[in-house]
């Protein structure tokens, strides 16, 4: 989910994704950065993202990941689902006694 969100705006390389997620979550979510790669390969295999090698701003070769159409649709579905769930959970937790 988070990876898909990170890729919504623009294609990115692995390190960029970890940076983006940490930034957005105000450093709360600090995953082992390594755990990202199996997830990326899995998403790619599922056809939700695709990758290509590009040259970065400071002239290094890096692999950029981008959302596919399936990926966008999947993300939208999941997001809606997530919202429903978290809203429900919030409602329960914050219910006035």
């Amino acid at each position: 989910m988070l990876v898909l969100k990170a890729l919504q705006l623009e294609p990115m390389h692995g390190w960029g994704i970890t940076e983006r997620i940490e930034q957005w979550s105000e450093q709360v979510l600090q995953l082992g950065q390594g755990t990202l790669y199996p997830a990326l390969y899995r998403l790619e295999r599922q056809g939700l993202i695709r990758s290509e090698w590009k040259v970065t701003a400071n002239n290094r070769r890096a692999r950029y990941y981008a959302l596919t159409r399936d990926g966008r649709k999947y993300f939208a579905d999941e997001l809606a689902q997530w919202r429903r769930m978290s809203r429900a959970i919030n409602l329960v937790l914050e219910a006035a006694l």
Binding site: W15, T18, Q30, Q33, G34, Y37, R45, W53, R61, R63
Partner: protein, 886 residues
């Protein structure tokens, strides 16, 4: 297909992805490092932090690789290669493990191929599940093997559930195909037999209507086997076969696979002889094919209703109260089923023991590989990967074992068939084929799974730190050791179960050998001779004279002590007719069948039941059957004298308890139609006729010169039995060149009846011997390993002044403790399991203490020996060496 293509593609792209992954991770780390430097860290610190944030690089790579399709498959191939390489590096371990497993798989597969051929495979006839055999069921609920013809005809007329029904009468008869006659098995079959079986002759034709009537042209159909061996596959036109004196034209040859009734070589129409009218003359086997729209159970219900209606109509006129329809396959193999299932169980136990043993070996090896595995774990390989690798190794082992095991099975099946030719039904259906090999494969895969899982569970549950340390020095048993000890206990327990089974079978065998048969078997030669039966009294008279002359000539042969003849030789394959007799007040009280029938129904207390035999006086002497009271037949009892009889002790005791049977009169004319009464002149000892296991039945002996039998067995007792057979054959040939003769020793006849018992005993004993060897090896291996591991501890003990005997005690004590636990568990399990054997036991109970004690002793001795050797080595440990062992 698409999947496969993707896999191939992705395998090809594998290297590219792999290097891409490395580059990508490198890039990531560099970026992080630079970011850290920007945040003010020194370059070294920045790099270190980057690694920390990232986590284990190798681990990530492994996990990411798992995401590649078909990583799993390819990993697996690599694991297999790796496993095979490892095994090549340790050939001794590989050889022992593969042989052990191969033994288990081979034994299980060999027995399975027999089970498959005999019990599982459908009969080789169309729609075989519709074939049933019909039985009369008597008032006491017993199924009778034979049916009377009027009952059969009523079934055929009234039961609508059967498409076809046929009666047949299988048995050997004197058969000649041109040369000397010999006894050959065949069947007289009624019209619909071939429709019931659903098979027609492969060559030639079925019987024509004109051949299916009294006085019709005698025709016969022969088996393919008989056609090729006796007629060299000659064209049918003009081929004849002489069956029981009558010449039959051969009109057809059955297909090679057709074998019913088992071992039949020819079939001829029952309709050639006149119908039988007695509802109590039980001479026929009845087969039927259930109509295609009905289940066997429905047919059974209808048959049962029809039969009960027949009983209501005929009352005492028929002995049938009910009827049963049993699937032919079940009925054919019913006798062999328990033996085969027993053997299969034993073979599976052996396979499990083999698995446990190899698993144990693998564990021992795994502990020496701990450091290798620990290093792999440390650099980030996850436990699943390691489990998969161990599984792959196990698979390599099991596959090799499966291949060797299939060879063992192939040889084993051939050996089995040699060992047990006659007593097993459907033996021709036994072979090692695709299905059986599939079984071997399944056994191998299951074995691998079991092996790999046990080993992997044990290995991967070990803590990383422990393994790294434990590899250094071990003092006393850790977890792994407990697992291995458990395996040894299980092996010992299973071995005990097998040994207990073998012990009980052996005790039964000894008990059977010990049985007092009532006659001697050593040194006697047996000649079966079968004359064609004839209703002509003149011919009968001449035949009896011939028999007398033959006996006299045989008696004169050098070395012969006594000679006799009997109509049904004990342990023989012939008939053992029995029936109801009546006691009479005087010898000629009854003179007509009507009188006999009337009196029989009126005076039930006069009736008795006995087997009816015809014998000469010399028979009792030659067999060593003692005369207990009265006299035997002698010269006074000629053909024209009053008929006399000798009875067995059990008949005397059951019919005339506390009274003297001698001088009493008996009417037994329903056996041969001769209504002249008998006077009882003597009582002889009981004999076990059918087999050593069956109790002696009441017997009635008539004199051969007064009552005729076409089928006789001559017994010759001599000091020099060898060579006698041929001389005797020549003597008989001088009198009758055509009569079929079969010569063998009485011991052979006894041997035949014991063949089945010997077969199961031999196999179970062989299996348990293998099991014992494996279990002993297992204990030896464990002990040797423990001693090696504890060298240091032992050294310290010795250095501190412990006696070498203490060391011995510790090591052997450990082995014995394991064995005692195993024996305890095994005995408890056996006590339950041997009950399944009960039907095969004779003269011992399923929990026979002698057998169990012997089994325990054998096992404990083996275990002691297996622990003593490593212990000896431990005693010899020099403290200094031990301390330096690491």
């Amino acid at each position: 297909m698409k999947q496969l293509w993707r896999r191939l593609q992705s395998m090809a792209g594998r290297r590219r992805i792999e290097s891409g992954l490395s580059e990508e991770i490198q890039f990531h780390l560099d970026q992080q490092t630079q970011k850290n430097i920007r945040a003010g860290m020194t370059p070294d610190e920045a790099r270190r932090q980057a690694f920390v944030r990232f986590g284990g690089v190798e681990r990530v790579k492994e996990q990411t690789r798992d995401e590649f399709r078909p990583a799993l498959f390819e990993d697996f191939l690599r694991d297999v290669q790796y496993g095979a390489r490892l095994l090549r590096r340790t050939p001794a371990f590989a050889a022992v493990a593969i042989l052990t497993l191969a033994l288990g798989i081979g034994a299980a597969t060999a027995v399975f191929s027999v089970v498959d051929g005999v019990l599982l495979r459908p009969l080789p006839y169309p729609d075989p599940d519709r074939l049933v055999r019909l039985f009369q069921v008597d008032a006491s609920g017993r199924r009778n093997n034979t049916v009377s013809e009027p009952n059969f005809l009523d079934w055929q007329r009234n039961a609508r559930s059967f498409a076809f029904m046929a009666e047949l009468s299988p048995g050997p008869a004197p058969v000649s195909t041109g040369g000397e006659a010999s006894m050959v098995s065949g069947s007289s079959v009624s019209r619909d037999f071939f429709d019931v079986m659903g098979v027609s002759p492969a060559i030639g034709r079925r019987f024509l209507d004109d051949e299916l009537r009294v006085g019709g042209a005698p025709a016969a159909i022969i088996s393919h086997r008989f056609w090729t061996t006796r007629y060299n596959s000659a064209p049918l036109s003009g081929l004849t076969i002489r069956i029981g004196g009558r010449l039959h034209q051969i009109v057809g040859v059955m297909p090679p696979a057709f074998d019913y009734p088992p071992a039949s070589e020819y079939w001829y129409p029952r309709e050639l002889s006149p119908p039988q009218t007695s509802r109590t003359a039980h001479n026929w086997m009845v087969l039927a094919r259930v109509a295609s729209h009905l289940a066997v159970e429905e047919a059974q219900r209808e048959l049962s209703a029809v039969s009960r209606a027949m009983k209501a109509q005929h009352g005492d006129g028929t002995w049938m109260s009910d009827a049963a329809a049993l699937p032919l396959r079940e009925q054919l193999t019913a006798a062999a089923r328990p033996v085969l299932l027993l053997l299969f169980g034993a073979a599976v136990l052996l396979l499990v023991i083999a698995c446990l043993n190899v698993s144990n070996l693998q564990l021992a090896r795994a502990s020496t590989r701990h450091r290798e595995l620990a290093v792999r774990l440390a650099v980030g390989a996850d436990r699943g990967r390691i489990t998969r690798q161990l599984l792959a190794e196990a698979l390599v082992l099991a596959t090799a074992a499966g291949a060797v095991g299939s060879l063992i099975a192939y040889g084993g099946v051939r050996a089995l068939l040699l060992l047990q030719p006659a007593n097993l039904p459907r033996i021709t259906d036994v072979r090692v084929d695709g299905g059986v090999l599939l079984f071997a494969l399944a056994a191998a895969v299951l074995t691998a799974a079991l092996l790999g899982l046990v080993t992997a569970l044990r290995t991967s549950s070990t803590q990383l730190r422990d393994s790294l340390n434990e590899g250094q020095r071990t003092v006393a048993g850790g977890r792994g050791e407990r697992v291995r000890q458990g395996l040894v206990v299980a092996q010992v327990a299973l071995t005990i179960v097998l040994l207990a089974g073998a012990g009980l079978l052996a005790r039964s065998f000894m008990a059977v050998m010990d049985v007092n048969l009532g006659y001697r078997t050593a040194g006697s030669t047996l000649i079966d001779a079968t004359w064609n039966s004839t209703p002509d009294p003149g011919l009968q008279r001449r035949r009896v004279d011939t028999q007398r002359d033959i006996l006299a000539d045989l008696q004169r042969l050098p070395g012969v002590q006594s000679v006799g003849l009997v109509s049904s030789f004990p342990l023989g394959a012939g008939f053992f007719p029995n029936g109801r007799f009546l006691e009479m007040t005087r010898q000629d009280e009854l003179s007509s069948r009507e009188d006999l029938a009337r009196l029989g129904d009126q005076a039930k207390e006069r009736a008795g039941f006995a087997g009816y035999r015809i014998a000469s006086a010399g028979y009792f002497a030659a067999m060593g059957i003692p005369l207990l009271r009265g006299r035997l037949f002698d010269e006074r009892d000629g053909p024209d004298a009053a008929h006399v009889a000798v009875i067995s002790e059990s008949l005397a005791n059951s019919k005339w308890p506390q009274q003297d049977p001698i001088g009493r009169f008996v009417q037994f004319g329903n056996m041969d139609g001769d209504l002249r009464g008998f006077r009882i002149i003597g009582v002889v000892g009981d004999v076990r006729e059918l087999s050593p296991e069956t109790l002696p039945g009441p017997l009635f002996y008539a004199h051969y010169r007064q009552r005729t039998a076409s089928r006789i067995s001559m017994v010759m007792r001599s000091q020099t039995p060898s060579g006698l057979a041929e001389t005797a054959r020549q003597v008989i040939r001088r009198y009758d060149p055509d009569v079929p003769l079969q010569v063998r020793t009485v011991e052979d006849a006894l041997e035949r009846t014991l063949a089945g018992r010997r077969f199961s005993l031999l196999l179970v004993a062989a299996f348990s011997a293998c099991a014992l060897v494996l279990a002993t090896l297992g204990i030896y291996g464990l002990m040797a390993y423990l001693v090696a591991q504890r060298t240091r501890e032992i050294g310290i003990r010795l250095a501190l002044g412990a006696d070498a005997r203490d060391v011995l005690r510790i090591v052997v004590g450990r082995g014995v403790l394991l064995a005692v636990i195993g024996v305890g568990v095994g005995i408890a399990a056996s006590a339950g399991l041997t009950r399944l054997l009960e039907g095969m036991l004779f003269g011992v109970s399923a929990t026979d203490p002698v057998a169990f004690a012997a089994v325990m002793t054998i096992t404990l001795v083996a275990v002691l020996a297996a622990s003593y050797l490593p212990a000896r080595r431990a005693m010899g440990v020099a403290p200094v060496v031990a301390m330096r062992a690491d």
